[in-house]
Every structure is written in structure tokens, then in C-alpha cells.
């Protein structure tokens, strides 16, 4: 079993490719790995209850830990206590800590 850190900086309102990255997170966790999907920049936009919130929530339901950069949420006025199901606000420090722990890290 490996640990994966998938960092998504883009959002599904703008890019079709985000669905691929969410799907990759699901496939990795279903293959038995531990996966964190860390949303940064506009990648946090589907954390707000919205037409794309279900896509993120389904990734969380599959067993992926879904975190959203607390600064990026605040920058966009997304209330950290009203996020899409399964998404938690987190400090960007988590990314550095997971890198230092050797998690395989992919930025999208």
C-alpha cells in the first residue's frame, strides 16, 4: 500500500480534466492505497455547495481524504463550516508534511 497526495489546483467549472483527477483519486483508493486530495487555488471552488459539489463529495465517499486549503477558501469567501459533504478545511502545511513523509505527490 502506498500513500498518495493529489493536489488539485483547477476547478470543474473551468476544466474537464478535473474529473479525470477526481477519478484517479477514487481509483487509487479503490486499489487499496491511502489517498489525500488536497484542493488549492480555484480547486477549492467546488467545496462550496454548488452544481459540482457532488463530484467532490463522491470522491470523499469513496474513501479519499478531501482537504481544502483554508487560505484559498477564505480568499474566495467560502465558509469553512459550510463545505460540501466530505470536504474539510486544512492548512497548506499538510502538503509539506505529507511531502516530507514521502507520499507520492502529483499536482494538477
Amino acid at each position: 500500500m502506498s500513500n498518495y497526495l493529489l493536489i488539485e489546483s483547477r476547478d470543474p467549472f473551468e476544466s474537464n480534466e478535473v474529473a479525470y483527477f477526481y477519478g484517479l483519486a477514487r481509483d487509487l483508493v479503490q486499489a487499496g492505497h491511502k489517498v489525500t486530495l488536497f484542493l488549492v487555488q480555484n480547486g477549492v471552488l467546488p467545496s462550496r455547495p454548488s452544481v459540482h459539489a457532488e463530484a467532490v463529495a463522491s470522491v470523499a465517499r469513496a474513501g479519499v481524504e478531501v482537504l481544502a486549503d483554508d487560505f484559498a477558501l477564505r480568499e474566495r469567501g467560502i465558509a469553512a463550516d459550510r463545505l460540501a459533504a466530505g470536504v474539510k478545511a486544512a492548512s497548506l502545511d499538510v502538503v509539506v508534511d505529507r511531502l516530507a513523509a514521502g507520499h507520492k505527490a502529483l499536482w494538477h
Binding site: Q41, N42, L92, V95, L99, A100, G102, A105
Partner: protein
Amino acid sequence: MADKKQLTFVLMDPPYENARTTTALRLIDIAVRRGHDVNVFAYEGAVNVAFAKQAPHANAVHGRDVEQEDHPNPKDWVAALFAAAAERGTTIDWVQCGLCVDERGAGECIPGLRRGSPADLVKFTETSINTLVIPTK
């Protein structure tokens, strides 16, 4: 404080064009504050992040003079990261891809950076515990 590790970041974006530059510098700042040694491979437009001739300006739309606007120049953020690392006894090894510097005329950068090549990036992958590529789009 975390155990000291060596982390490598690969940057590609020039300053002032998108959010990735800020996020990359935030990550490096966190890594420095956590006491890690950091390698940076600045590829393509990222060789301009620490360009020495960046200058602040006023902001007439907001009625602010140069001093009041205190406009960021990423070269100063990079210099501050180097200073923070020095204070903590850790290192930042920032390599500018040489061919990228040449084609962009970006040779004048702040002190502390060095010119290099993809061979440096290969060495970084071997000495670091991990590497994060932040690609441009």
C-alpha cells in the same frame, strides 16, 4: 518542529501571471519554517520569479503612492525565504535552468541563486526525500 528532510520543488510559472507562483512560494515558506532543506529547480518562466530588476509602483486606482502600495515583488519574497532559511540553519539551493535564463534574457537575478541544468534536477531527485512538480498550464 519536524525532522529535517530535503524537499525539491520544480517551478515553471513566471511571476504575476497566475496563482501557482504564490502557492509555490507559500509551500517553500512552510518547508523552511518546518526546518527542512529546500531545493528549487526554476524551469521556463519561473527563472523570472527572482529577476533582480523587478520594481514596485504606485497604485493610482487606489490612490496609493509607492510606499503606501507596498507592491510585492516576488524577488523580495524569495530573498526573504533565503534569509529565513539562514536564520534556521537550513538551506535553499535554488537552481535556474540555464537555457531558460538565456532565452528569456533573465540573467540578472538576486544573489543566492545559481545557474544549472536538468542534471541538477536529476541530482535533486536523488538527494531529496520527495519532489513536487508544479507545472504551468
